[in-house]
Symmetry: C2
Subunit: 123 residues, 2 copies
DNA sequence: TGTCTATGTTGACGTCTATCGATACAGGTG
DNA sequence: CACCTGTATCGATAGACGTCAACATAGACA
């Protein structure tokens, strides 16, 4: 908490997109695991997964908070989870007038999908 | 081995494999999110991710504990994390003589990959 | 039998995290 | 300006989690 000087949100996304080979290709290094685990961890909470899925499946890949906040937890908790997803590089946000819109980072989604690819060599 | 039905490991794997559409297809229900989040959470720790990657990339998709336990934590911690991966349905284990071998569940890996597929409708 | 190695389990400890109510901030409307 | 709505932050708290040392268990071998 004390060492949160700056939040490198965009860097996180880029790092994730480029960091890692498929899980089945070779053993991850400590660094690769650290980077990739950050993403998996972000999706490792049911509420966050529902929020992320709601945004990802929304028209245009973006959604207002008011459209997705019906997940059974309080408003501060929703805000907290959206922040976590942002810090993990999975979502970006933009305020337009009264409402705040969250959007998925497609490159990150693709990178995660590649991680779970089954390589011919390992199969 | 005694047929203790304590841990429904295979059920967890099956549930994961069949539970969920791509994240971008429609908002997850609470139940779907609960199931899928269990997997992501299991991979959301750097040590577990390294262990899983080590097993998945090992010859034949299986590895002895002794081959993968060099991840910078104590032996009990390695055992603890392997257990977690087992409970999440990502790995299965089998004792052969002195050593215990862990193997990846390929169907689960494929199911997770499908989760992260970008559907044409959402793109 | 006893001993050695490989792996799992237990119990404890410190840290992280999900959650909430209260509050602050931002922007629209009157 | 004041007021209302949508969203973020703060502070507190209960529970989950990662880690280790100590101990337990399973199999191989003499």
């Amino acid at each position: 908490m004390s060492n949160t000087k700056v939040l490198p949100l965009l860097d996180a996304g880029d790092a994730v997109a480029a960091c890692c080979p498929p899980l089945t290709e070779r053993p991850f290094t400590a660094e690769e695991a650290e980077t990739a685990a950050r993403m998996f961890k972000a999706l490792g909470d049911p509420v966050r997964l529902r929020l992320f899925s709601a945004v990802a499946s929304h028209e245009g890949g973006e959604a207002c908070v008011c459209d997705i906040s019906d997940v059974g937890v309080s408003q501060p908790t929703v805000s907290h989870h959206l922040k976590k997803l942002k810090e993990a590089g999975l979502l970006s946000s933009e305020r337009r007038g009264t409402w705040v819109y969250y959007r998925v980072e497609p490159s990150v989604l693709a990178a995660m999908g590649k991680l779970l690819t089954i390589t011919p060599a390992a199969a």
